[in-house]
Symmetry: C2
Subunit: 445 residues, 2 copies
């Protein structure tokens, strides 16, 4: 890249700012963008970001060619530049190091007539969302996306190290499982309709019978006309599924996963949580065991707290917030009325009107982060349920096969990444937990 | 689960077959399905699979209640059962261990009238694909999916440990980038048309300016009416993108990733490769440096080998096979005619009719596994290209912003998971490299 803009001075090492601690006293080159600039007489202090961190540079007029010093002094926000100089530990500086500038090369000076549109002043959410491709450069957005990365990595590492096989389930699915109202339809070569997956669960069940323990992890889609702060039309979900598992085992794994992830975020993403002004004491308390209660008891608890819920109803956002109010960690509610759960839930043996489902509800109003349960393993019962729900039998023949050929008790759950990240980051709206959120009225950029 | 079918005998530990080596001499319970059954007088040898491995069990008539022995003796393929007994090292047995049966519980005896449809005899591909939900239990399919898992994990670990941030790009994309003929269209609340992503690259470029080095990794979609053995309508692709990178750096990373992945598969998935009868010597030779050649030289080489290609044309499958014929590792071809590459390629400085793109072509006829290059970083040139390609300027305003606000040389590449897995596994058709393949005429199950 010797003739390209951005090439370092001959013989110096290009480093990323996150590696500065390994190069104290050395002359290195960093490549980045101007985040901020302070001037003090014959010294300018450009703060440079390179995507891995921030570095305050010290450019002294007398040590630099005049053109270089003047170029730095007049530099505009988000201009791109490379800087070569010596790294010095400096406890007061952002990141703990400073770079004494020996050379600098401006790659692009952002024009004064058309300056970088996102400034330290307040912007409206629509403006920021329209500029999402630039907004991601901001420190808070940066922090949220890095927490997201850590959550996703944590999820995969958890399942990979606990004997689960990753078996990706398809995005294009042929039949509508639970009605077509919240499904996105795709024109498949003008020949047939296919739908975008809402959940990989049915396929997961087949995969669990092949691999014992599996997970899928990809984008899922819901065409819900909801505009709440918890809804995206496109979101990422991890779904583990286990053969030879009952509701208690499913709850154990869900709890263990959440505890593992929260611990990992606290360990690896302290700086990001600080940037997000997250009260980490609320996360420190997330330890096993989580409070467990039946749906019956949850309804009683809600009634005692003044909710208008009646037995048989589903919890609203307010109910979920009330339910976790007295706890410092997520609450697990199980054994819901079968009538409000999907057709495939295994009924409780003692009280068949209950489904062996469990939801994990996060504290601080973050609501349901996990939903799952035990699936029906009996062929006749599943056939009965399909008929009761008026589901097209033929489309489910393959799913019924799983009950014909070596059926076993099994189950699993789904966890939405964005809600989990919102909880970790303390963000009010899920739209900041995914790089390019898709919502009812938002498909751009 | 004490009253549920599948519960172990009191006090014994449930293990997975892959953990057998830790329990030699111990009494344990395994939970699985009957893979095969051999009988020899008063002994039956059920081979059980549990998704983690296979275990030959030894059930001796005199040591078991008669009902249990008879049940095992009459067991049908894929019946589900749990077996409790003592593990013994046995070099001749599959997996290296045997289990002496003390107890067994049949969870489901698959009926003789409606037996498991996939038998050791030959089945046609359509039949197997229609039964994909069961076919995944077969040993070869199992092996391919486990190689796939390792490839995906290897890709993520590679980028996570090389300073890349995972920034997921959207599936729903508003505008068609390169014509709409190969895009799947989605009805978005009846209001507007959105398309399923073909590549996260344009978003990746924005993300690289925010994070320096990024990757996205998710499903991508192409509505190509191709029926070749290399085409899926839904496939997974990883796409890294780097700021301050030129073509040489992009080639270096692509090469390093491939070498890393092949090494990892050879290290961790030997058994699966053996199951797939893969000639691993063809993978052992995949080391850096890969042969590098220009498009010009590639065309000359092809001509010398009798291809009818002419300068300016794209390589066909046969050309790709010819190109790698004399090499024991992938070949990197760069500097293609700009006319056959997308609008965003940076032109070669000396010969602007060439695009700074690179393809990595796998040996043994597996074809292009990586395509990428350096992107245009100059605003005026990019505007010119958009006009030349008759692309809707307004839809690209956000993309142009990246050249207005701190533009830098940058680039990256895309690698399709399924083609890579096919190469690793030595599979002729990509349909076996993804759990539920979607093709022109295949959207089920």
């Amino acid at each position: 890249m010797s003739n390209e803009p951005g090439a370092p001075a001959l013989g110096t090492k290009i480093i990323r700012i996150s590696e500065a601690h390994e190069h104290v006293g050395k002359t290195v080159t960093i490549q980045g963008w101007l985040y901020n600039l302070r001037k003090s007489g014959k010294i300018v202090f450009p703060i440079i970001r390179d995507g891995s961190g921030m570095m305050q540079c010290v450019a002294v007029k007398n040590n630099l060619p005049e053109t270089v010093f003047e170029a730095l002094k007049g530099l505009t926000q988000e201009s791109s530049l490379t800087v070569t100089g010596t790294i010095r530990a400096e406890a007061r500086a952002i990141g703990g190091f400073e770079l004494d500038v020996a050379e600098a090369q401006i790659i692009q000076h952002v024009s004064e007539e058309h300056p970088y549109p996102i400034t330290p002043k307040e912007h409206g959410v629509d403006f920021l969302m329209d500029h999402r491709h630039l907004w991601l450069r901001s420190r808070r957005q940066h922090a949220a996306i890095r927490v997201r990365h850590e959550v996703i990595k944590g999820i995969r590492d958890y399942f990979d190290s606990h004997g689960f096989t990753l078996v990706d389930t398809p995005i294009f699915t042929p039949a509508a499982c639970e009605g077509t109202t919240t499904l996105f339809e795709v024109d498949y070569f003008g020949e047939e309709k296919v739908y975008l997956t809402q959940s990989g669960q049915l396929y997961n069940e087949a995969n669990a019978m092949a691999f014992g323990k599996v997970y899928c992890f990809g984008p899922t889609f819901r065409a819900e006309k909801s505009k709440t702060r918890r809804h995206l039309t496109e979101f990422w979900m991890v779904e583990p599924e286990m053969a030879y598992a009952d509701l208690e085992e499913i709850k154990r794994v869900a709890e263990d996963l959440v505890v593992h992830l929260v611990g990992r975020i606290l360990e690896n993403r302290r700086e990001e949580l600080k940037e997000l002004e997250r009260d980490t004491s609320k996360l420190e308390s997330v330890k096993a065991p989580f409070p467990r209660m039946s749906y019956d008891d949850a309804v009683k608890l809600l009634e005692s707290k003044g909710s208008e819920i009646q037995w048989g109803g589903d919890f609203g956002n307010t109910d979920e917030t009330l339910l976790t109010q007295d706890f410092d960690r997520p609450v697990m509610v199980d054994r819901y009325p079968a009538a409000i759960k999907a057709f495939y839930f295994q009924p409780d043996e003692q009280r068949p009107e209950l489904a062996l489902g469990v939801d994990v509800i996060a504290p601080e109003g973050y609501g349901e982060i996990i939903g799952g349960g035990q699936r029906i393993h009996d062929l006749a019962l599943l056939e009965k349920r399909l008929a009761e729900h008026n589901l097209p039998r033929e489309a489910f023949e393959w799913y019924l096969d799983l009950r014909r050929f070596g059926t076993v008790p099994h189950g699993g759950f789904g966890m939405g990444v964005e809600r989990f990240v919102a909880w970790m980051c303390g963000l009010e709206h899920v739209r900041e937990t995914i790089p390019y959120p898709r919502m009812l009225y938002r498909t751009r950029p």
